[in-house]
Structure formats: C-alpha cells, structure tokens
C-alpha cells in the first residue's frame, strides 16, 4: 500500500527553488550592460544555439539555463511583440510589457507545475540616452527586477556581477564594454579560481544600437568581434559591412506600412 506523506507548501516551494537554482548555476553565464552607444549582450556560448536574440525594434533578449525552455519563451515574446506591433503601432511595443508577460508566465509555471523552468531571462530595451535604457531580470519564479546599468545571469553570477559593477559606467565605448564583459565572464571558472581568457569563438555578442532607427539589434561576429577584443581598440560602433547600408533617420514613416522605420525611411543622400 502506498504511503501518503505530507509536505508543507513552504517545503515544496523551497525544493522547487533549489532545483531551479542548481540548474541555472550549472550553465555558462551571460551579461548585459549599457554603454554609450546602446545595450551590449555577451554570452559565453560554445554552440551555435543562440542565447541572445532580437525581440523587436529596440528590445533584445538574453537567457541562461535550459535551452528548450527559454527558446519557447523567446518565441512567445516575439509573437507577442509582433502581434502588438501589428495591431497597434510599432512604437506601442515596450520592453516592460514583454518583461511583465514573462514574469506572469514563469510565475504561473513555478506555482502550478511539477517542475519549475530552469531559466533566467534578461529583457533589455534601448532608449535615447543611457539613462533611459531598461534592463529587466526575470527569474524562474516569476519575480522581475529592474537592473540599472548592468546585470549577470547564470553560473557564478554574483562574482561576475561584482566585477561588472566595479568598472561599469554608462558612457564607456563599445570596445571597453566588450572587454569588461569578457573580463567579468572570465573572472570565474579558471583553475583554482584564477581568471580565464575566453576566445572570440566562445562568445556570442550582440548590441542594441542606440543610434539606429527601426530594428536596432545587431550581432557582432567574426572580424568585427576580434577587432573589439584587441587590446587598445577604441571602436565605438560594430565595424560590420552592414554599417554602410545604415539608413538615414526617416522622416515620417508612411502610416500604411508595418515595416520598421529603417526600411521605410527615405534613403540617405
């Protein structure tokens, strides 16, 4: 005969929290920070499966933990953003609304389902100035925090966060921001607690570029990334070929179009 054991609700929640925290701490870390030209995401990633991606014009997404779980949430976020942008206007899609939806979803999953999601998510929205950038951290239990300036998730996130906060300032250049992020990610996990050097091929780097109109999300890969990691590099913009096709600030986007402002604007002269 099966025995029914009583477990208090506190115990159940503690167990789920511990389970989720352990899962998240096992993985590799990701950081997000503001810099003078936008918001930078850097994740340590050995695979081609993405941890950092685009949600909407000025909104980016980064996550750590179980891939299938955060990928599912990422898709839901893109769908929500596109549905809202299509129903109303592109300007009506905000990072806060997306962060709220994730908080609701993760909160419901945490309390209602047997297994909590082992994920931690960052939703970032780039503003007109570094002060108006928004970084939100959403954790496995649905709690959401506003993180001004910089944040680290996954692995030994507290140690990484300390390194980040010490040196971060919102007026740093892209090259300085990338170097700081890589230094912070490499500050843990080395032999005997020593710092590691992480190569460009183990990094996933993307920015929300403050100066762009329309879709601001750009990945920084290959030669552009290697150049940023060089000691002494001072580049402030991702040096990609796409830059040459950067559209001029559009006048008024025709109201009959749902295309992003970078598509609809008159060409630069």
């Amino acid at each position: 005969m099966a025995m029914q054991f009583y477990a208090s609700p506190e115990q159940i929640m503690r167990d789920r929290s511990e389970y989720a925290r352990k899962g998240i701490a096992r993985g590799r870390s990701a950081v997000a920070l503001t810099y003078e030209g936008g918001v930078l995401f850097v994740a340590e990633n050995l695979t081609s499966l993405r941890k950092v991606s685009e949600i909407y014009d000025r909104i980016g997404f980064a996550a750590v933990g179980r891939y299938n779980e955060f990928e599912n949430l990422r898709r839901a976020g893109v769908r929500m953003a596109d549905l809202n942008g299509y129903s109303y206007d592109r300007r009506d899609v905000t990072g806060r609304a997306i962060a709220n939806a994730y908080a609701h979803a993760l909160g419901a999953i945490f309390t209602e389902q047997m297994k909590a999601y082992e994920v931690e998510i960052c939703v970032a929205e780039v503003g007109a100035t570094p002060d108006s950038d928004e970084l939100y951290r959403i954790t496995y239990d649905g709690s959401v925090q506003d993180e001004p300036g910089s944040m680290a998730m996954g692995g030994q996130s507290e140690a990484i966060s300390t390194v980040l906060k010490e040196a971060h300032s919102s007026d740093m250049s892209l090259a300085d921001a990338v170097k700081l992020a890589v230094k912070a990610l490499g500050s843990v996990g080395g032999e005997g607690g020593a710092a590691r050097t992480i190569g460009a091929d183990h990094l996933e780097v993307a920015v929300l570029d403050r100066r762009r109109k329309g879709r601001t999300f750009r990945r920084v890969t290959g030669a552009a990334l290697t150049a940023l990691l060089e000691p002494g590099s001072t580049a402030t913009e991702p040096a990609s070929d796409e830059e040459s096709a950067a559209p001029a600030p559009p006048e008024d986007k025709p109201s009959s179009s749902a295309g992003s402002a970078d598509l609809e604007g008159d060409a630069k002269d």
Binding site: R75, Y86, S87, N100, A101, A258, D266, A267
Partner: protein, 280 residues
C-alpha cells in the same frame, strides 16, 4: 496584451506552441478576425461603391537588382480618392512589394506580409529565401479569393535581390500573381493595375536586358507616364503639387527609396522630353 483575463496570468498556449514560424498561421489561431479573407461579406458583388482602387505599378529587372515604381493615384469610381497613396513598399531589407486593386485590402496585405517576413527571420534566425517569400505572398493572396470574387480583389507584385544567386548581375528577380494565388516568375519586366496595359507596351519597346539600375528607374517613370497618358485611373507626375511616383530599388546594398528630390529631377526631365516628342 492578448493574454486576456486569465487569472493565472499564464501566457495562452498558442503563444508557446512551438509549431509554426509563420505570423499568419499564428494569427489564424490567436486572432483570426485580423486576417483578411476571414471576414464575412454580404452576398453579391458590392465592393465597387465603397472602396478606393489603387492602380499602376511597374517593376523592372536591372543589372544587379530590381526597380519598382508606382503612381500615386487611387480612384473611387470616376473620382480621385487619393493623390498621394503609396503602393510600393519594402517587404524586408532585400525585397519590394507593390499592389493594385482594392486599396484597403492591399495595404493590409502588405502590412501583414512585412510582419510575416520579419517574424520568420526573428523566430528562425535566418531570412526566408527569395522564392520562399514569393510563395508565402501567393498563399496570402489565395486566402483572399472569396473576397476577391466579391469585388475586393487585390493583386501584388513582388521583386527582390536574391542573396543566394551565384551571379550577382542576375540576382534581381520578379514575380507576378493572379487573384487565385497563381505565381509566375517574370523575366525582364512586368506591371499590374489598370494602366499596366500601356505601361507594359511602353516597356516592351524600351526594355533591354542588362539595363543599369539608373536607366531602369528612368524607364519605369517613363512607363508610368505612358500609362497615365492613356488611363484615367493612373496619375502622372504632379508638377504643381510636387507629387511624384514612388520609386524603390533592391540591390546588394538592400532596399532604398529614392528621395523626392531624386524622383522630381527624373520626372521633370521625362516631362520635358515629352514636350518635344509626345510619344517619347
């Protein structure tokens, strides 16, 4: 947020079901009333009275890209409904879409198509192939067949720069469609709308394979002039109000809309030539 009033706060299942990368398919589950072709229409053929009609768009394959140009007139019966409607839009960073027919449905279709392409790119992390985009557009037209048969017909035209092409000079490709969702890849040039008969006749005599993008732009504006010359529903360059055709290009550098100053210069020179020789 479409999450509605579910007190658990859970995101509805259709947001998280991993099945589809298509925005249209997602809408058909999440908000079917937002799709054209899903709305009940009164029986009979009644659309002519109410709606504005968009007219002529031409598209031309040039060396290393495509050019698409559309006039600015929309008509409602014998009246001009709009003098400055825009019928040519970028579909995504490398392709262009234009429409003719019922303006309301056409504009909605283009909006939906733009979101469809961006949505796929964000979900999958890669762009659709150029053929994939054209096929997707054909499916969307097919879904509007019922409304089209009742008078709310719209026909798009699609062209773009094929990033997968082996020879960049031949990377410009264009497609035409019919209201039943038929899709036909065209070589050289094509036009849609009431003035397309005249525009295509002009293009037939003037088009040469391997045309430069600049020459194709001039040719497109000339063809629209010829269409406006013989079709009342097509507007010519409006020199008094300074309203000129919308001209866009898609090349290896991406899509680009010519500025009003650029089109004004070309349109004025076309008009000046016609002052001397009416037939062009």
């Amino acid at each position: 947020m479409a999450a509605g009033f579910d007190p658990s706060g859970r995101i509805p299942d259709f947001f998280t079901t991993p099945a589809t990368s298509s925005f249209t398919q997602f809408l058909s589950v999440a908000a079917p009333e937002m799709l054209p072709g899903r709305r009940p229409l009164p029986p009979g053929y009644s659309a002519e009275l109410a709606s504005a009609h968009a007219t002529t768009v031409v598209t031309i394959v040039a060396d290393g890209g495509v050019v698409m140009a559309g006039d600015r007139r929309a008509t409602a019966g014998n009246l001009i409904a709009s003098r400055d409607i825009e019928k040519v839009h970028p579909a995504d960073p490398y392709s262009l879409v234009g429409m003719a027919g019922t303006a309301g449905v056409g504009i909605e279709l283009i909006r939906l198509f733009q979101v469809e392409l961006e949505h796929y790119e964000k979900i999958e992390g890669v762009m659709l192939s150029l053929e994939g985009k054209a096929n997707r557009l054909a499916t969307m037209i097919r879904n509007n067949l019922g409304a089209a048969l009742q008078g709310l017909a719209v026909v798009p035209i699609f062209g773009g720069f094929d990033l997968g092409a082996s020879d960049p000079a031949k990377a410009g490709r264009i497609w035409s469609f019919d209201i039943a969702g038929g899709i036909y890849e065209e070589t050289g040039y094509d036009g849609i709308g009431s003035g397309s008969l005249f525009a295509k006749a002009a293009l037939k005599k003037r088009y040469r394979p391997g045309l430069s993008v600049d020459d194709a732009i001039t040719l497109g504006i000339e063809a629209l002039y010829d269409a406006a010359d013989d079709d009342t529903a097509t507007g010519g360059p409006d020199l008094t109000r300074k309203i000129y055709p919308v001209v866009m290009t898609a090349t290896a550098e991406g899509t680009r809309r010519l500025t009003d100053e650029e089109t004004a210069t070309i349109a004025e020179s076309v008009v000046a030539r016609r002052m001397e020789n009416i037939g062009g």
